[in-house]
Symmetry: C2
Subunit: 221 residues, 2 copies
């Protein structure tokens, strides 16, 4: 079964990515209303492609590298947030993203669009149970940090070297107790101002780039 | 003249913010289609408010504090990007955001929504000419950093203490030459992966929180 992705960057990244592109429709050869009908969205930017289903990664392979940084999203439901986190993860050099196979957005064409095509190059794995996967990650030698607004430990005061998993909760409600309990340590981003909350992809990026900063200053290019 | 903002958080933040709220309509007292008609958007989340015009700040006051961090956006046209940068700036504790009064998004109700209401607590100033304002900022004792993908200097290798301005360019085309020329120094975020670009608000947040990290580790709470 194939699916139809849309948008300039998502289609361009699929063309240099891992899944087979069967067919591409472009404006003006294909009229705009036909493109919208083909992909079911007005956000096609003049290009739609029929591609193989999204190639999910094997969750047990994500931690193979000894400095693998894996982002784990517990029940992020909004496709735009999932896509934006994937984009930030790809650009931050993360080894992959883990999502649960239920009560979570999956990598739909809308997520491909929100990720600017980053999902074509990023490993995204689905797991049955997030807390169980965190147990596996710890067995595999990873240190598991959970982001929690109320945590006293700052994200800048922990060691991001080696294998690490960064767990982020759903919009609004944070980490579920069993998931928080499966973390080695809870961390927070100290916030200023009055509104007191960051968008999920911004929070993920701030933490991932701190990890990247620490790693880069240890091993200068 | 008043304007109509919409969405749960934008209206809640306006109610505890600086501008006068004249009237609020809420579902189910007001039907959804009437709310949509009142604000001109389907994204009202059941609440619309009539408020005073957005209270822009005085651009010359933004650098008053001796550790003021001001974000300058050169021709960011997308309301979602402007709103998301404002949200990140408010939460990162920035002193304010400067935008040009032409060829830029202004603080419309769509920007209020995208900022999650952060603009109600943040100082946003409009200036006639961005390069001229950077000249003024330097006179006022600020160091001016421009974000440019091709810059060799890393954002983590510069000193973010004292008065600083961080200049970010428009989506896609970066800083205009005259604006880049008005910066003291150009900096970049070293990126991994293959897609090679961050969303504007994510880039702004990564840099602002590095500034915050440096400042916090110098002056522990």
């Amino acid at each position: 079964m194939t699916e139809r992705i849309y948008g300039r960057r998502p289609v361009a990244e699929a063309e240099r990515g891992r899944r087979r592109v069967h067919r591409v429709w472009r404006a003006p050869d294909t009229p705009a209303d036909e493109l919208e009908r083909l992909c079911g969205s007005p956000d096609h930017q003049g290009v739609v492609a029929e591609v193989d289903p999204y190639p999910y990664a094997d969750s047990s392979a994500l931690l193979d590298a000894e400095d693998a940084l894996v982002v784990v999203l517990d029940q992020v439901q909004d496709p735009h947030n999932l896509g934006a986190v994937c984009r930030a993860a790809e650009v931050a050099g993360a080894a992959g993203v883990v999502i649960p196979d239920r009560r979570s957005a999956s990598v739909t064409p809308a997520v491909c669009k929100a990720s600017a095509g980053a999902v074509e190059h990023l490993s995204v794995a689905r797991v049955r149970n997030v807390a169980d996967w965190l147990g596996y990650a710890k067995q595999a030698g990873a240190w598991v940090y959970g982001a929690a607004a109320e945590a006293e430990r700052r994200y800048t005061d922990v060691d991001w070297s080696g294998r690490v998993a960064l767990v982020l909760g759903s919009e609004g409600s944070g980490l579920r107790p069993r998931v928080a309990g499966a973390c080695d340590e809870l961390i927070s981003i100290p916030l200023g101002g009055r509104i007191g909350s960051l968008n999920a992809s911004v929070a993920a990026a701030v933490i991932m780039f701190e990890a990247r900063r620490q790693r880069t200053s240890r091993h200068p290019a």
